[in-house]
C-alpha cells in the first residue's frame, strides 16, 4: 500500500489510525457521550418518580422524561457509539484508509440533526409516546422525521463501513480473513442494515400518517414491523458489544480466540437468526399463530442463544488461556483472581459479560418463551431485563472500550486516574441492582411506564403488595449508585478528552487503563506460524482435566445450572396461573 501521510501509528498500541477515520470516530464518540449525559439526567427523573416514596415528577413530565430517556439512551447514545466502533474496526483494525470520509460526515450530521429534531419534538411536550411510538397514538411529525433522518444517517455510515472493507480487500491491507473483532462488527453492521430498513418501512408511513397523507396505520402491523426495527437494533448492540469483549480480551491480555471457526460461526448464527427474536414482543398479541411465534421467538430453535452461550464461553476462555500462558496456572481460578481488576477496561468488560449473561440472558430467554411471556408482558420485568442487557451489557462494554480509546484515539492522558478503576464497579453493580429490583417488581406485576402504582384517587385501585413497593425503593437506591457511576464515567471521559494532558510522545506508562496491557502486538510476526495451528493446544490442564480453560468451563456450568433452575421455576409458576386457552 502506498504511504499515506494521513496515517499515524499509535506508539502504545501499535494501532494504525487514518486521520479522517479518527476524526469521525471522535465526533461520533463525543455525540454518543452527550446523548448519554442527557439520557442520564432524564433517568434521574424517571427513577425518582417511580420510587413511590419520592415520586418526584408530575405525570406529564414523567412520561416526557421517560420517552426522552429511552430515545437518547437506546437510540442516540448506543448508535453513535456503534458508528465509532464501525470506523474503528474497519479502518483501524484493517489498517486501511476510510472509504469516503466526506460521506461519513454527511451521515454524521444527518444523525446529529435527526437526534436534535427528535428531542425537539419530545420536549415540545406533544410527543410523549415513548420510543416505541405505537400507532395509533401519534406524535408530532418532527418526531418521526428526526428518527428517520437519524436512521438514514446510520445506514449511510454502515455503507461507508462496507465500502472500507472493499477498499481494504482490494488494496490488500490485510491478508486472508478480517480480524475476528471486525467480523463481529460486520455482523453488527449487517443487522443494522436490516434494522434500519425495517425502521424505514414502518416510520415513513407513520410520518406520512402524522402529516395526514395516510389515514390509517394498523396497530398490529405497526407493532410487528416496528419490532423488526426496535428489537433488531438491540441485536446490533449484542453483536457490537461481543466484538468489544473480544477486542478488550485481545488488547488487555493479548488473548487469541480459542478458535476462529467457532467464534465466527457463532457470529454467523447471529446474522441468520438473531433478528427473528423481535417476535418475543408479540407473544401476547392476537392473531399471529403459535407457529410463527414459537419459531421466531426462539431464534429458530435457539440457535442464536447457542451462539451467545458460545461467546460467553470463548471470551473468558481465551482470557484464561492467555493468563495461563503467563504462568497463572494454579487451581481453577488463579487466572481470574490475578486478572487486572484495577484496570477499568478489563473490569468493565468482565462485569458486562457476567451481567449480560446471568441477568440479561437468562431473563431474556425466560421472557421470550411463548407461554411464560404471559407472566411478565409489559411489566417492569421488561425494563429490568433490558437494563441488564443494554446497560450492563452494551453500555458498560462501550465504557470499558473508551478507557482504552482515550489514550490511543484521543491521545490524552486519563484524568481522574484514581477514580477510573472504581467507575465500572459503581456503575455496573448499581445497574445490576436496578435490573434485579425492576425484575423483582415486574414479577409482582408492577407495570412499566406507569406514573402511580398507588392509583391515588382511583375509585377501583389495585393495592400492590408491600414487597413491590420495597422493590421500587431498592431500584431507586441502586439507581443512585448507577447515576454516580455514570457521572464518574462522563467526568473521566469528557475531562480527559477536553482537558486531559496531551500525549505527544510515548509516555503511557502512568495511565491506569494501560495496566496489565501487553506490549504492542506484532503485526508482521503472525504469518510465520501458518503451519502451527491452534497455538494453545498444549494448554494447561488443571485438576486432571484436559481442557485449555477448565476454570471457564466451571463458570459456564454454574451459568447453565442457574439458567435451567430459573427457567423451570417459571414454568412451575405458570402452571399455577388460571388455565387459559
Amino acid at each position: 500500500m502506498a504511504v499515506n501521510r494521513m496515517f499515524r501509528t499509535c506508539p502504545a498500541s501499535g494501532l494504525v489510525f487514518h486521520e479522517p477515520a479518527e476524526n469521525l470516530m471522535k465526533a461520533n464518540a463525543v455525540a454518543a457521550a452527550v446523548s448519554l449525559l442527557v439520557g442520564g439526567i432524564l433517568a434521574i427523573g424517571v427513577t425518582l418518580t417511580r420510587w413511590q416514596a419520592v415520586h418526584m415528577l408530575p405525570p406529564d413530565s414523567f412520561y416526557l422524561f421517560l420517552t426522552a430517556h429511552g430515545l437518547n439512551m437506546l437510540v442516540f447514545w448506543i448508535i453513535f457509539f456503534e458508528m465509532a466502533i464501525l470506523y474503528f474496526t474497519s479502518s483501524t483494525l484493517l489498517k486501511c484508509r476510510l472509504a469516503a470520509p466526506g460521506i461519513g460526515w454527511v451521515a454524521f450530521w444527518m444523525m446529529v440533526v435527526g437526534a436534535l429534531m427528535n428531542n425537539y419534538a419530545v420536549f415540545r411536550g406533544d410527543s410523549s409516546v415513548m420510543f416505541t411510538a405505537y400507532a395509533p397514538m401519534g406524535a408530532h411529525p418532527t418526531f418521526y422525521l428526526g428518527l428517520i433522518l437519524f436512521a438514514v444517517g446510520a445506514l449511510i455510515s454502515c455503507f461507508v463501513f462496507f465500502a472500507t472493507l472493499v477498499v481494504a480487500k482490494s488494496e490488500k491491507t490485510y491478508n486472508g480473513s478480517v480480524p475476528l473483532v471486525t467480523f463481529g462488527a460486520i455482523t453488527a453492521a449487517i443487522i443494522a442494515v436490516f434494522t434500519i430498513a425495517s425502521g424505514a418501512i414502518i416510520l415513513v408511513p407513520t410520518f406520512l400518517w402524522s402529516v395526514g397523507f395516510i389515514d390509517h396505520i394498523d396497530s398490529l402491523v405497526y407493532r410487528t414491523v416496528f419490532w423488526a426495527f426496535g428489537h433488531s437494533s438491540q441485536q446490533i448492540n449484542v453483536s457490537a458489544h461481543v466484538a468489544v469483549w473480544y477486542a478488550i480480551a485481545a488488547i488487555v491480555f493479548g488473548a487469541k480466540p480459542l478458535s476462529e471457526k467457532v467464534s465466527r460461526t457463532a457470529f454467523f448464527l447471529y446474522i441468520c437468526f438473531l433478528q427473528l427474536a423481535s417476535a418475543h414482543h408479540l407473544l401476547a398479541d392476537p392473531g399471529l399463530t403459535s407457529n410463527w411465534k414459537i419459531f421466531n421467538t426462539s431464534y429458530a430453535m435457539y440457535l442464536a442463544v447457542l451462539a451467545s452461550m458460545v461467546h460467553g464461553l470463548t471470551v473468558p476462555g481465551s482470557i484464561e488461556v492467555a493468563q495461563r500462558q503467563k504462568g497463572y496456572t494454579n487451581g481453577l481460578f488463579e487466572w481470574l483472581r490475578k486478572a487486572p481488576w484495577g484496570n477499568p477496561a478489563f473490569s468493565g468488560m468482565f462485569l458486562s459479560l457476567i451481567g449480560f449473561g446471568f441477568l440479561g440472558g437468562i431473563s431474556g430467554v425466560m421472557m421470550g418463551t411463548e407461554q411464560l411471556n404471559l407472566l411478565i408482558h409489559n411489566t417492569l420485568y421488561v425494563p429490568g431485563h433490558f437494563h441488564a442487557t443494554v446497560v450492563v451489557g452494551t453500555t458498560l462494554a462501550f465504557m470499558s472500550l473508551t478507557y482504552f480509546l482515550i489514550p490511543v484515539l484521543f491521545r490524552r492522558q486519563m484524568m481522574f486516574a484514581g477514580m477510573a478503576p472504581w467507575q465500572p464497579y459503581v456503575f455496573g453493580l448499581g445497574m445490576m441492582g436496578v435490573s434485579l429490583f425492576l425484575m423483582g417488581a415486574g414479577t409482582l406485576g408492577v407495570p412499566r411506564r406507569h406514573w402511580d402504582i398507588a392509583f391515588a384517587g382511583n375509585p377501583l385501585p389495585y393495592e400492590f403488595p408491600g414487597s413491590a413497593w420495597l422493590m421500587m425503593a431498592l431500584a431507586g437506591i441502586s439507581s443512585i449508585f448507577a447515576f454516580v457511576g455514570g457521572a464518574m464515567y462522563l467526568a473521566i471521559t469528557v475531562g480527559s478528552v477536553f482537558f486531559g494532558k496531551k500525549i505527544e510522545t510515548p509516555g503511557f506508562k502512568e495511565i491506569s487503563a494501560q495496566q496489565g496491557m501487553v506490549g504492542r502486538p506484532q503485526p508482521a510476526a503472525a504469518p510465520a506460524d501458518t503451519t502451527v495451528i491452534a497455538g494453545h493446544q498444549g494448554g494447561v490442564g488443571a485438576g486432571g482435566m484436559c481442557m485449555v480453560a477448565p476454570g471457564t468451563f466451571v463458570l459456564a456450568i454454574v451459568f447453565l445450572v442457574s439458567f435451567v433452575l430459573y427457567y423451570f421455576i417459571n414454568w412451575k409458576y405458570l402452571s399455577t396461573v388460571w388455565p387459559l386457552r
Binding site: 473483532v181 403459535s290 407461554q371 382511583n458 387459559l580
Partner: protein, 179 residues
Amino acid sequence: MSAILPPPERVWWKQPLDRVEGLWIGIALVWCLIMFFMMPYWHVYGKQNLANEAWRTTPEAYMKKAEEVVAKYKVREETDQKIPVVHPPAGSDVYLVARLWSWWPILELEAGKSYRIHLMSMDWLHGFSLQPENINVEVHPGYDHVMTVTPTRAGSYSIICNEYCGINHHTMASRLYVK
C-alpha cells in the same frame, strides 16, 4: 495473534476444536433444543396457552356486542360512574372494552367455570394485566382477541392497564370478581 489481528492461518476452518468448546457446544445445543420443545410440549400438555384467535372488526360493531351482553347479564353498578357489573353464564362470550382510560364493564365470573373473554380497544393500544394473577395480554384496536379463561380461585382481582396509553394511563384500573 489475537482477535484484533487477521487470523494467522490462511485456512482456519479446519482447526481442531478444543474439548472445552466442543463439550460446551454440545451441552448448550441440547439445552437449546429442550427449551425449544418446551413450547410445543406445553401446547399439548400445559394448561396456560394464550389463544391466538382474533377477528378483525370495528369499534362500533364490538361495542354493540358488549352492550348486548351488559343489557342481558347486568347484576349491579359500581362507583360514581355507574360501571355495570355483569355476571354472564358459564361458557358464554363476554366482551371487555378497553378505552381511554377505563375498562368496561366489570366482570363477575364463577370459579371453575370457563368463559370466552373478548378483548378489544376502542382507540389506542392498552394492556390487559390481571393482578395478582399476573396474566398480561396486549389489547389492540380493531382486533377482537378471544381467549377462554377458567378462574380457579374466588376473590376480587384487578385489571390494570400496562401498555402506555397516554397521560392518564396510570388511572386505568378496574376489577374482576370471581365467586
